[in-house]
């Protein structure tokens, strides 16, 4: 035991290790899927269509879509892995062990979200590497890029964790990523800048939080984005705060965890 007041780091590492082990079992499928998907995007948008596109704000189209594509996969991976990670033990019933262990809610979240975010980072970096096979990309602010990826991964893993706690069925688990997140990311400016959109779509798009994430992430690559960096960071901070708040509430009330 780590003492009654200290953190149960061994408990955290047990769950973290368990989750990574689960990822390792499906290592190739879970890594190849985003790589193949991204490759297809590069072939279609980068090479086929991109060659007929003008530069956007001085950036070749093939390079322009790289940050958006990384973000697209990372959002999906984060939500999918984190929601699945906590939904599975609820579904199989093995959650009993987590609930009966001397683990605080914070420790539980660190373990599950940490593991899911780790995998998202790996996927993000693999796609980043894959992109270099197709286009020339230079990153203006590499450290900021990594920090951005990490914060986004954590935020969306927290969101996924909420989803995994909330879902009562596999159908619900799939529903949100498919019908809400997918359109949001596609319309989030991964393949275009919002200035390319006609009104009223441009104004409507501003309500999509993903715009700010991709714009901020694009700034780390090219030193410029659709919206100011400050707004991007504020949106991410707000998301992080909202997800954390919801999770605290869920644990405090025992929502869907304890009867």
């Amino acid at each position: 035991m780590n003492g009654p007041s200290g953190m149960n780091w061994r408990g955290i590492s047990a769950i973290y290790g368990f989750e990574l082990h689960r990822f390792r079992r499906t290592f190739w499928t879970s890594l190849m899927t985003p790589v193949i998907t991204t490759t297809l995007y590069f072939i279609v948008f980068g090479s086929a269509i991109g060659s007929r596109m003008n530069e956007i704000d001085g950036i070749p189209y093939g390079a322009f879509i790289v940050p958006g594509l990384i973000m697209l996969s990372m959002l999906q991976e984060s939500i999918f892995n984190a929601s699945f990670g906590i939904y599975m033990p609820r579904w199989t019933g093995t959650i009993y062990e987590i609930l009966s262990a001397p683990l605080s809610p914070l420790e539980t979240v660190i373990a599950y979200v940490g593991a899911a975010a780790t995998k998202s980072m790996i996927v993000g970096l693999v796609i980043f590497a894959t992109a270099h096979l197709f286009v020339d990309v230079t990153v203006v602010h590499p450290l900021a890029m990594l920090a951005f990826m990490l914060v986004i991964a954590i935020s969306f893993c927290l969101f996924g964790f909420i989803l995994g706690l909330w879902a009562k069925s596999f159908e619900q688990l799939q529903f949100v990523p498919l019908l809400v997140i997918m359109p949001m990311t596609f319309l989030g400016g991964a393949f275009y800048t919002i200035s390319m959109l006609p009104e009223p779509w441009r104004t409507i798009t501003l309500f999509n939080p993903v715009i700010y994430l991709i714009s901020g992430f694009r700034w780390t690559f090219f030193g410029q984005g659709d919206v100011s960096l400050g707004i991007s960071l504020s949106v991410i901070a707000a998301m992080l705060a909202a997800c954390t708040g919801i999770i605290i509430w869920m644990f405090r009330t025992g929502y869907r965890l304890k009867k």
């Binding site: 035991m1 009654p4 061994r10 079992r25 093995t94 062990e97 262990a101 009867k259």
Partner: protein, 317 residues
């Protein structure tokens, strides 16, 4: 002996209005085997789940080794190992990995020697590298016990450990539970097999409809409520109990062939049986066979549960 678990006024009601537990008080002594007996839906699992932190109580307090199960949940939960009723396992995990995982979860440093000992004790060592999905039900149950023991708990909860387990395995399980108790682990098991409680428990608690109806030393319970009966199978039927036998608690069974005498085996006149038989002989009543029967925990249990039902019916009327 000191209480290792102390349940004080624990109540559980659900939003639907269903009350699973009505203010339960219960003390478990250190080192005992305690059997919580009750029909399905009595509240056994709910009570265990509350003690172990799976379910929040609506009211009341639980102390585990003197530590509050909510305020000092780390200390309280560290002392407890839980084997739930359902076989919840990760299908793709290896036996040894999942047992190690459990130990880590409770914040204990890795200890391969201990894990090996636990697996050997449970006859699982040969299966240590098997995936959970390859195991039979009985083995899975043993893995769950291994998981619960991996962090060296002081108290082990076994929720219906032998539900759906064949006779052979059930006996193994009983032997295992006794061995565990010999190592100093306090064991609380729930069961609806009376036989199991009678066989293993030091003390028995009967729970029904969310109320603990009785907690007693098993032997005392058997003694106190252990009624015996002697049945004489008469050669010729009677129409009524002869008035000469009215000094004994004798009844005539329908058909008039069986004369039943109910008595307390441990108290009262120790010559009552011989006196009765003498009187029967004197009356010239022939019998071709006789049998005695001692009431089991089962009778006591059924009696208690019925009593409770009747009392409530009366109270409602």
């Amino acid at each position: 002996m000191t209480s290792i678990i102390s349940v004080k006024g624990v109540r559980k009601s659900y939003a639907s209005g269903h009350i699973a537990l009505h203010g339960v008080d219960l003390d478990i002594k250190e080192g005992e085997i305690f059997a919580l007996l009750g029909p399905n839906g009595a509240g056994k699992t709910t009570l265990i789940s509350i003690i172990c932190g799976l379910v929040n109580p609506s009211e009341g307090q639980i102390l585990v080794g003197g530590q509050d199960s909510v305020r000092d949940y780390r200390a309280a939960r560290s002392m407890i190992g839980l084997v739930p009723q359902e076989l919840h396992t990760d299908a793709f995990e290896k036996v040894i990995t999942t047992v190690r995982f459990s130990r880590g979860l409770f914040g204990k440093p890795r200890n391969d020697a201990l894990i090996e000992k636990i697996l050997r004790d449970l006859s699982l060592w040969d299966k240590r590298d098997a995936q959970m999905q390859e195991l039979s039900g009985g083995m899975k149950r043993r893995v769950m016990i291994a998981k619960a023991l991996a962090h060296e708990p002081h108290v082990l909860f076994l929720d219906e450990p032998t539900a759906g387990v064949d006779v052979e395995l059930r006996k193994d399980m009983w032997a295992l539970v006794r061995r565990l108790r010999d190592t100093g682990v306090t064991i609380i098991l729930t069961t609806h097999y009376i036989e199991e409680a009678e066989e293993m428990a030091d003390r028995v608690g009967v729970i029904n409809k969310g109320r603990v109806m009785l907690v007693e030393e098993k032997d005392q319970l058997m003694r106190k409520m252990g009624r015996k009966s002697l049945t004489l199978h008469l050669s010729q039927s009677l129409n009524a109990v002869p008035p000469e036998l009215s000094a004994w608690d004798v009844t005539l069974k329908p058909g008039g062939h069986d004369l039943e005498y109910a008595f307390d085996a441990r108290s009262g006149d120790s010559n009552a049986v011989s006196a009765l038989l003498k009187q029967v002989n004197a009356l010239g009543l022939g019998y071709h066979d006789l049998s005695t029967r001692q009431s089991s925990l089962e009778d006591i249990f059924v009696g208690l549960v019925h009593q409770g039902d009747e009392a409530r019916k009366e109270a409602a009327a």
